[in-house]
Amino acid sequence: MQLGIVCGSLVASRKDDRLEGITLLVIQPIQPDGKATGKALIATDSMGAGPGERVFWVKSKEASNPFAPLEVPTDATIIGIVDLVNVEA
């Protein structure tokens, strides 16, 4: 899993049926200190995250698991909203 920050949303009316009703958000991967790292991407949201929130997300085929038994074609899904990250040293 990786940390990210929600920085936008995406609207698509013509899409795979199984994406119907699922929010698509733009996330920027970040380091624990909040600095951006890597490229921004589009993720499905299983948690109801909003703009500016720090989240953690899962990539690859496992991204589809939160929506089981529906096989949603996604390779990135937000699976938690971060309250606090504590990194020592």
Binding site: S9, L10, S13, I42, T44
Partner: protein, 102 residues
């Protein structure tokens, strides 16, 4: 997932039999703000996208979850045609650490 712009079509007579009947498109991948253009990918189209459309791309093994692509040897599929992307936080702000509650 990534966003991209459809820039072309691809025809192949000799191909894996599980790709017979699929529509292959050449997609230029971009950042979510449609600014920085990156590389090109060949993707299976499952939503009837056309040239010039901005599309949503799923890659890796998840591409096989696209409609009718079970067990097909693919790693990129178009699963949506994008109407709009709204960016609420410009990338430049992301270099600043967020306000943390203690």
């Amino acid at each position: 997932m990534q966003v991209g712009r459809v820039t072309g079509t691809l025809v192949a007579t000799r191909k894996d039999e599980r790709l017979v009947g699929t529509k292959l498109l050449v997609v230029r991948t971009m950042d979510p703000g449609f600014k920085e253009e990156q590389g090109y990918v060949v993707a299976v189209d499952t939503v009837d996208a056309g040239i010039g459309d901005k599309v949503l791309l799923v890659s890796g093994s998840s591409a096989r979850l696209a409609q009718g692509m079970k067990d097909a040897p693919i790693d990129a599929a178009i699963i949506g045609v994008i109407d709009q992307v709204e960016l609420t936080r410009p990338a430049v702000e992301l270099t600043k650490p967020p306000v943390t509650k203690s």
